[in-house]
Symmetry: C2
Amino acid sequence: MATVGNSTNIFWHECPVGKLDRQRLLNQKGCVVWITGLSGSGKSTLACSLGRELHSRGKLSYILDGDNLRHGLNKDLGFKAEDRTENIRRVGEVAKLFADAGLICIASLISPYRKDRDGCRAMLTDGNFIEVFMNMPLAVCEERDAKGLYKLARAGKIKGFTGIDDPYEPPLNCEIEIIQKDGVCPTPYEMAGQVTSYLEDKGYLRDE
Amino acid sequence: MATVGNSTNIFWHECPVGKLDRQRLLNQKGCVVWITGLSGSGKSTLACSLGRELHSRGKLSYILDGDNLRHGLNKDLGFKAEDRTENIRRVGEVAKLFADAGLICIASLISPYRKDRDGCRAMLTDGNFIEVFMNMPLAVCEERDAKGLYKLARAGKIKGFTGIDDPYEPPLNCEIEIIQKDGVCPTPYEMAGQVTSYLEDKGYLRDE
């Protein structure tokens, strides 16, 4: 019996079908691809493109989108600092479950604070946390402004907007960095290819 | 743009690989098998047995165990009424994500209150919520008492224990009921077979 956080009398049930069995069924290895970057940096675009590419290779992935989860699991959370932290913690915990289920879990969140991302990394004890930094200049993201949010933030109508009046802390040791080449942003297909190559090289696209 | 709960400026991103694509890949249909019942009624036993049976048929399932999740996603929650409700809400939301990912998600929780379970059922808009009621007499569960919890509850050392000093509200319209036959509890294999037959009959074990 154990006491964990606010819970007591909690047992851990071991089940005989484990991660390795599921990986064998899927012929892939479960992991978390964590995409971080400014609003407008292309996180969702990469997530979708990567999901398509993996699916075309017969691999099972699932996208956890920070915005989408705020409609469900995290609908009780807002944007103040502790809510952002809790938002990211929960996404990290769910991503961990998906990786354990054998899926390539693609998490797409601004996740601006290093300590929150590192907290999620630490949840994946076997090191299957692949951090992808969308390293796009703020000016490029703001120029795109597909959602019109930068305009609202500049006008002071959104407070605490990452990159404007709230900091973005870039990763110090991410596995993959997406950057412009000669001032040109990579295409969705190129971005997905960069991540897929990494997954292939590291053996995530097969079970042995 | 939408306002959802405490969140504003949240968009919904549609991705081109959808549930149907994943179901085709897996040759099964995503759903939630929600196992409810008293402590000691055999929920975890059925969950494991069902997971084994599905795996042996090449089907991908994943178990969300109420106790296990209290080590991670729900470690901030205790056992008071609102925490129990939030615990179940979150498991429901995560189960919904797993079903959307194409998995047969097996959720195993006491989940004593009807309104909490019905809240989870309502999350699955397409009706893929299969409620399994472990209808075992309290005396049988208490006699087993594998975790020694009933003894503690009877001694007043655990407060608010379901079946002792907190109510269990049985389902009114569950899809599957596990019962004793002639005073004998079904074996894990028989219980799993009952659920697997249901899944097969309803077409969950193929994608079309």
